[in-house]
Amino acid sequence: MMLPGIAYLLINNYMPMFGITIAFKNINFAKGIWGSDWNGVENFKFLFQSSEAFVITRNTILYNLSFIVIGLIVGVGTAILLNEIKNKFAAKFYQSVLLIPYIISMVLVSYLVYSVLSVNVGLMNNTILPALGIDPISWYNEPKYWPYILVIVNLWKGLGFSVVVYLAAIIGIDKEYYEAAMLDGASKWQQIRKITIPMITPILVMMTLLSIGRIFYSDFGLFYQVPMNSGSLFSTTSTIDTYVFRALMQLGDIGMSAAAGLYQSVVGFLLVILSNYAVRKIDKDSALY
C-alpha cells in the first residue's frame, strides 16, 4: 500500500538529493551528465568570485526580513481588529475576502500588477500619476521602486493566510481574562496590550523563528513573474531561487545552477536546524521536531 508513495519520495526527493553531485562537475554534454569530469569546488569558486553571489544572497535575506517584520505587524493588527468585530457574519466575510489573493497563481498576480504598472497602458501612468502631476515612470526599468512593490505584493497575497493563523491563536485565549479585565475597568487598548499580545507572543515567536529558518528561500513566482523577469531590474529583484532558475534554463549553466542550489540547500538546512533548536528551547511542543 505504501509502495506508490515511497517510490514517489525516492524519485521526486531523494534521487535529486544524490544528484547534487553535479555541483562538483564540469558538465560536458559530449560525455553526458553523469560521465562529465569532476572539477571539485571550481563551480563554487566561480560563483562566489562573481558579484552575483553577494547580490542574490543580500536580496534574498533583506526581502525575507522585511516580509517577516511587515507581515507580522500588519497580520497581527488585522487579526486583532477582526477579532473585535462582534457581527460574526461580517467577520467571516472579511476573512474570506482577505484570502482571495492567496488562492490565485503568481502569473495572475503579475497580470494584476501589470494592469497597474504597465508603462503605456497602466493605471499608474495613465490615471494616478497625471492626477498628482507626476511624470510617467518606466516601472519595469527602474530597480529602485521594486523593493516597495514586491513588499506590497507579498503582503497583499499573504495577509489572508497570516490572519487565519493569528486569529486562530487569538480565539484560543480564555475569555475569562477579558471578563476579569473589564470588571477592573480596563479599556480595549489596555486589554489588547496586556492580554491579547502577551498571550499570543509564544506563537508569534515560533512563527517568526520558523520564517527565519526559511530566510534563504524565496518565492520564485514572486521574484520571477511579478517583475516579468526584466533584466534591468535584476539588481533589486534577483534572489537565489531566480538565479538557480536562470543559470539552468536561460544560461544552460547546469554546474553553476546546481552549485547555487546546493549553497541554498545547505545554508537553508542549517538555519532551519538552528531556528528549530531555538524554538525547542522556548517551547518544546511548538517545534517542528
Partner: protein, 296 residues
C-alpha cells in the same frame, strides 16, 4: 464603556472594509479592462471607468478557440487527475504510517519529514526528470514533479487518522477477517472525508495554479495549461516593453495575440472558475489552513 466599544466597532469595520476593498479592486480592474474597447485602452490606459465598453476580446477568444480551449481542457484534466492521484497516493502512505504497529514506520516518517528540511534543488531535479525519466514535453510533466505528494499533506493526514479513527474499530475489523486494504477502503476512507476534502482542495488549487512545471518541462504549446499560456502572453508583453527579440518557439502563438484587452480576458476566464467556486469551498479552506498552520 459603551461609547468606547462603539468606536472600536466602527474603526474595525472601516479598516476591514478598506482591506477587503484592496483585495478585490485589482480583480475589478482586470475584469473591466477585459471589457474595455481596445482604442480606449491605448488612449487612456486600463481604467475603472472606461470610455467605451466592448466584448471584442471575448469574441476573439471564441474565434481563436483552439489554443485557449485546448489549454483550458489540459488545466481541467490535470487538476482532476492530479488531485485524485495525490489523494490516493497520500492516503495510501498516510494510513499505514498512522498504525503504531507498523515495523519501520518511524524511518519512513523521518524520510518524509527530512524532505521538508532539505532538498536537492532545481538543477538535479530537472536533470533526473529529463535525463532519467524523460518526461519533457509529456503530460506527466504537469502531473508528477513536486505536486503529486508532499511530506506536509502525508503527515497532516496521518495525524488525522491517528486521532479520529479509534484503533478498536480497526482491530475488530481485522478480527472479522478484513484485509488491510479492505479496512483502508471500507473504514478509513469513509471516516476521513473532512481531511480528504482539505487535502484535495489544497492539491487541487496547486494543480490549477501551477505554471512552474510547464515553464521548465514543456516547450510544446499544445501541452500548455492555462497558466502557461498566460505566462507566454506575459513574455510577449515583456517583448513589447523591452523591444528585444522573441524566442522562435513562442513566435507562432505570439502572433495570434492582438491586444491588451485580450490578455486580460484570458486572465479573467482562467480565474473565473476558482473565484466562482470559492464561496462554496472557503469554509473547508479556512479550516484546512488553520489546522495546517497549527500542526505545521
Amino acid at each position: 464603556m459603551y461609547r468606547e466599544s462603539r468606536i472600536w466597532q466602527w474603526g474595525s469595520h472601516t479598516i476591514m472594509l478598506l482591506l477587503s476593498l484592496a483585495c478585490v479592486v485589482p480583480f475589478l480592474l482586470l475584469v473591466i479592462s477585459s471589457l474595455t474597447d481596445e482604442r480606449s485602452i491605448i488612449r487612456n490606459g486600463y481604467s475603472f471607468f472606461p470610455k467605451q465598453i466592448s466584448f471584442a476580446a471575448y469574441e476573439y477568444i471564441w474565434q481563436q478557440s483552439s489554443l485557449i480551449f485546448n489549454a483550458y481542457g489540459i488545466t481541467i484534466l490535470i487538476t482532476i487527475l492530479g488531485t485524485t492521484a495525490s489523494l490516493i497516493v497520500t492516503s495510501m502512505l498516510a494510513y499505514p504510517l498512522s498504525r503504531r504497529d507498523l515495523p519501520g514506520g518511524m524511518v519512513v516518517v523521518f524520510l518524509l519529514f527530512f524532505t521538508m528540511l532539505f532538498n536537492g534543488g532545481l538543477a538535479p531535479t530537472y536533470i533526473i526528470y529529463t535525463q532519467v525519466f524523460h518526461i519533457k514535453n509529456t503530460l506527466l510533466a504537469l502531473l508528477v514533479p513536486g505536486l503529486l505528494m508532499n511530506g506536509f499533506s502525508v503527515l497532516l493526514m496521518r495525524s488525522f487518522f491517528m486521532t479520529t479513527i479509534p484503533s478498536s474499530v480497526l482491530e475488530s475489523a481485522s478480527i472479522d477477517g478484513a484485509t488491510e486494504f479492505t479496512i483502508y477502503r471500507k473504514i478509513v476512507l469513509p471516516l476521513s472525508l473532512p481531511i480528504l476534502a482539505v487535502v484535495g482542495l489544497l492539491h487541487g488549487l496547486m494543480y490549477w495554479n501551477d505554471w512552474f512545471n510547464g515553464l521548465i518541462y514543456l516547450t510544446n504549446p499544445k501541452l500548455y495549461s492555462l497558466q502557461n499560456v498566460l505566462n507566454q502572453l506575459m513574455s510577449n508583453i515583456q517583448f513589447l516593453a523591452s523591444n528585444s527579440d522573441v524566442s522562435s518557439l513562442a513566435g507562432k502563438s505570439l502572433q495570434q495575440i492582438p491586444s491588451e484587452a485580450f490578455r486580460m480576458a484570458i486572465a479573467v476566464i482562467s480565474i473565473a472558475p476558482i473565484l466562482i467556486a470559492y464561496p462554496f469551498f472557503q469554509k473547508y479552506f479556512v479550516k484546512g489552513l488553520a489546522v495546517g498552520a497549527v500542526k505545521g
